[in-house]
Symmetry: D2
Subunit: 363 residues, 4 copies
Amino acid sequence: MASNSFGTIFRITTWGESHGKAVGVVIDGCPAGLHLNEAEIHEALTLRAPGRSIYTSPRKESDRAEILSGVFEGMTTGAPISILIPNQDVDSSKYEPIKDLLRPGHANFTYLKKFGVFDYRGGGRSSARETVCRVAAGVVAKKLLAQDAIEIAAYLKQVGNVEASIPDHDHDTLRSTVYQSPVYCPDATAASAVMTLLEKALVEGDSLGGVVEFRTTSLPIGLGDPVYEKLEAKLASAMMSLPATKGFEIGSGFSAVEMKGSTHNDQFANKQGKIEITSNYAGGTLGGISTGMPIIGRVAFKPTSSIMLSQKTVNTKGKAFTFQLPPGSRHDPCVAIRAVPIVEAMVALVLADAILLNRCARL
Amino acid sequence: MASNSFGTIFRITTWGESHGKAVGVVIDGCPAGLHLNEAEIHEALTLRAPGRSIYTSPRKESDRAEILSGVFEGMTTGAPISILIPNQDVDSSKYEPIKDLLRPGHANFTYLKKFGVFDYRGGGRSSARETVCRVAAGVVAKKLLAQDAIEIAAYLKQVGNVEASIPDHDHDTLRSTVYQSPVYCPDATAASAVMTLLEKALVEGDSLGGVVEFRTTSLPIGLGDPVYEKLEAKLASAMMSLPATKGFEIGSGFSAVEMKGSTHNDQFANKQGKIEITSNYAGGTLGGISTGMPIIGRVAFKPTSSIMLSQKTVNTKGKAFTFQLPPGSRHDPCVAIRAVPIVEAMVALVLADAILLNRCARL
Amino acid sequence: MASNSFGTIFRITTWGESHGKAVGVVIDGCPAGLHLNEAEIHEALTLRAPGRSIYTSPRKESDRAEILSGVFEGMTTGAPISILIPNQDVDSSKYEPIKDLLRPGHANFTYLKKFGVFDYRGGGRSSARETVCRVAAGVVAKKLLAQDAIEIAAYLKQVGNVEASIPDHDHDTLRSTVYQSPVYCPDATAASAVMTLLEKALVEGDSLGGVVEFRTTSLPIGLGDPVYEKLEAKLASAMMSLPATKGFEIGSGFSAVEMKGSTHNDQFANKQGKIEITSNYAGGTLGGISTGMPIIGRVAFKPTSSIMLSQKTVNTKGKAFTFQLPPGSRHDPCVAIRAVPIVEAMVALVLADAILLNRCARL
Amino acid sequence: MASNSFGTIFRITTWGESHGKAVGVVIDGCPAGLHLNEAEIHEALTLRAPGRSIYTSPRKESDRAEILSGVFEGMTTGAPISILIPNQDVDSSKYEPIKDLLRPGHANFTYLKKFGVFDYRGGGRSSARETVCRVAAGVVAKKLLAQDAIEIAAYLKQVGNVEASIPDHDHDTLRSTVYQSPVYCPDATAASAVMTLLEKALVEGDSLGGVVEFRTTSLPIGLGDPVYEKLEAKLASAMMSLPATKGFEIGSGFSAVEMKGSTHNDQFANKQGKIEITSNYAGGTLGGISTGMPIIGRVAFKPTSSIMLSQKTVNTKGKAFTFQLPPGSRHDPCVAIRAVPIVEAMVALVLADAILLNRCARL
């Protein structure tokens, strides 16, 4: 079924449960010749790690990735790259009392019904813990993108009704601004308002939704494939495979609905001998294929399902219960924040695959 | 690359250009034993056909699908089902004068850059003509869904700033109400306002964006697969593979951003001995797997790129031109309308595949 | 399931039953820029056609392939290439009386048990009629191979106990010698002996097995992929997907069993500054990847299952019957002969795909 | 490219180099509900391990597999099963002096040319070390087969010119007889002759080829899929993906070439109310779909490429050298012996996938 794999040529397969021994990813189809080391992966994992501020889950994971194969003398060999990340700080005992309760907003009900068995400890396979593998694989994908000078930045665009204005920085400045913010938001004013909202949510034991936006630098023209493998279709699939996502849009997105064609149609123009596009409502693709403009998209995240408030539910036998997380449980008041580096990684995975596939378009 | 295929087990491959001899679809992996005839496909194609009212393109296609294989004595055999739909009413001569111009909002620029050659007649492979194949395949998928009593309705939810209220009909009534409306909108008041907007756009030579919403009847629990093949990821990919789409959302979608977890978490309850979910902000899935509730989603369509207004552009060599469609050219003022049966078909294709894959989840 | 598709990037999907309206193939992933016309396909189909001599089935098929998509102004566009070949000379009435009998050596039993329904007319989907689609697709694949100066010849190597000596011709001479022989055998003495065997078999109403051998010109080094996509694994899969095949071998094949490593290990040597391999027991690959030497392989075909002799069998309900083909029924006394151009086509399909995949091995 | 994956639904991905830290396999698509523990895997690995007798390589691997995911409370959960097997007894220093020499019969030349970089230590990814992962995954596949009472036995059929007669044992006795033999050959007389051959080869520093045969118990009817996913095509691909294989045949195999159709056509008969087939030249399939008879096939292995005799070769720059393995190097005089449990595992993987795919054939 390959439901734990993503990509066609540059293809990842992830495995591991939240409270198992480890999680990991196998990257198949990565070209030979990329320099790669564990320190680079560690650095990326740090950005995703919880516990960096009060605004994200206090779980202390100092994730150490181990490269088990596919790299020889510091260089990828074309062989599958196996990366293993041990699980640490795992205490499953607190899940014992609630293991038969259907958790509102969680997947234990659907997993149990589908498979007849569920590794309930920490959410098992349905946990966001799986995304650490995506971030690790994203490091390798970005190395491939760097060959074409493609870079990606993602950031927190909105939480609740607070929307950020994204400064008109060059790419590097934008990205460093993002990761200097405790909430991965490059607009300091909005970031401050978001932190206030999050503090209030923490006090209430409640949670908030958010939007993550991403943008790339100018892409090569021609990435993406016709019809069912349009670049936006792959991005949509990538994003909606992330836990807690409710929506994806590219370019103008849902706001296109209130626009007219005469406005929305980006114009082609000749700028100093080169064909350019003067606006980017399209968000970087036409007919599913990159136009050469930056790709811009947004992902909606629901408010975190894990909240400290008590909730009504039933157990697996239908008996009514009140669900209450034990005091001191870990949770993020807004999953969109830690999703920022994960969204980046998913964009990288989609583009790395698109670059390789595009080598086959012509003679 | 298989970029013209969709699905894993129930898998379609489409082919054909807008102004070629024909378009067609091969359905592989359809189980044996379904009753199928050409009249059923014809009926579905009629709903997609242009020219049903002034609100859609006046191109007169009375599409006749021919089943060339895979059906024996009225029943599917498990062999690939090949369906061919000849192109009619095709006059490519009017594309000749504009063949070197980059059409704003169209894919001729990206196709040409990617492949070095482009069948410009009617948009070739990038044309929405391809979607007739999806609708034909959707008929077969729906036959499979009918075995599990699954039905799907899609409808026009919004055009410009006019948003429809969807009546609380039973499924059959809803669907028939939709297709009785000239704009496939079950809210008569909104439909009327939409028609006014469209008439205005036609006079102006401009176009409008729109939202199509879909909902299914209650699904079996367990459709969809963990991690990268979440049901919403497949739906997102399906929808974003449609021409002119800019966004997809499921359940609460982007509105989840302004909600709190305590509200958004749908509750499990015991209703007369059966576990039920008392709201559906999730939109029918948890962890990517169907909860048993209806699947509800929305797709944003940009305003039609083909407009009658003149637009500035350049030709393939970068020379500035004014782009002007010849008088009497065909176009839809809002592609979202005719997208309604196409969205329905894509939901059906995703669910048919999910039903088959789900047979492999357990011993 | 995609069981009617072959290939990863250069991917074909075939459809159609022996006695249906038509058969056809969709080629997805063919690069843009290849010149292609229907006459070339027609020429290839002629080599596969029955009725060219008394040694093959007298069915008169003057197959005319129609290219329905993917070619614009004589050149491939990167879009799927749909080729349709109408079925002619089809009279299904003679299958009516035997439709409930299990035909020894045929697939009607297994198809019926698997699918619950079987299009028995002419063998339906299990018929060798399907291979016409492979030959048509092979023409396109060979066009791609020609870019790398790769050519393929196949020929009849053995029938019964008559084994041919293959002359040491250059590739073009070899191939033209093959197709001048009524039995596609480039050794005139062996060909003559084979014809005598076939004439005897025809008189007896019986059939014979055969071996088809293929060899390519020198390949680029590097085609094929590690582990599960070894070039020989793909060739094996390609050949064993042909009807009536019982075995595949590459290079030394089964004769390697009686060899020693010191003999079998082909040696590397420096020939005028270039690394060459001085023998080719390997058959052109090491570790599943092409060495630069010609690929050489052989395919075993069982004696044709359709024979004129009466045979004991039962019907679908288990009642004993004598199976007797109606007088004047079509059949090939040895399917290996007509398999020659089909084997060629399958080699071409495997190599075309390998060439494209190999573009992704390095930065 | 997924060249390190095998299977469609029941799908494995392997990783790891011979002298890296570990090798491993991820099994995706295994149904939930199978009992599984590490001891069972360990037992299977023992059968493949070298050093069990003087007839196989003296490398001492007491492989310990660790299940890292996908099993909860002793049962598979439907999540990917990650199995890791650390590499032990690894000393790469002896490869240092020969790292630039092209090894006759080995893949270092083709890997290096393809990828530009090669992990030469112990053959890296091209090493038979990879097959330990197949055996581990095969244990899980066999658990699924056991649900349908399918069992598989493989055994050494031939080495050099010594061919074994396979006793007419019941399946369990056959299999235990095989693994009691130091050369995995159930015919004691042949086994003895083989051992004599092997002892001679060891003294000479040379190696021998061999044939492994496999047979299953009676299969369910209907496994395998039409056209390109015929059961024999998948088995052929599975076997030819093994290192050192030169040929595959099913049922009569290449001997069919000298048979007549009247003999080769297995007959259907009514045996006590059940349709049975009275011979099995077909080897268990018709039209690529299982007939219900045992599957029988054979795999040809070339003589081991690693020999102790000195061989002429060149280095990567084309300079002539004599290649000589260091005294005391590990090698198997005949790889076919240790291939026996690996062939078994590959049959199991093919059948497990076929069983799952077959669930989708009908309504």
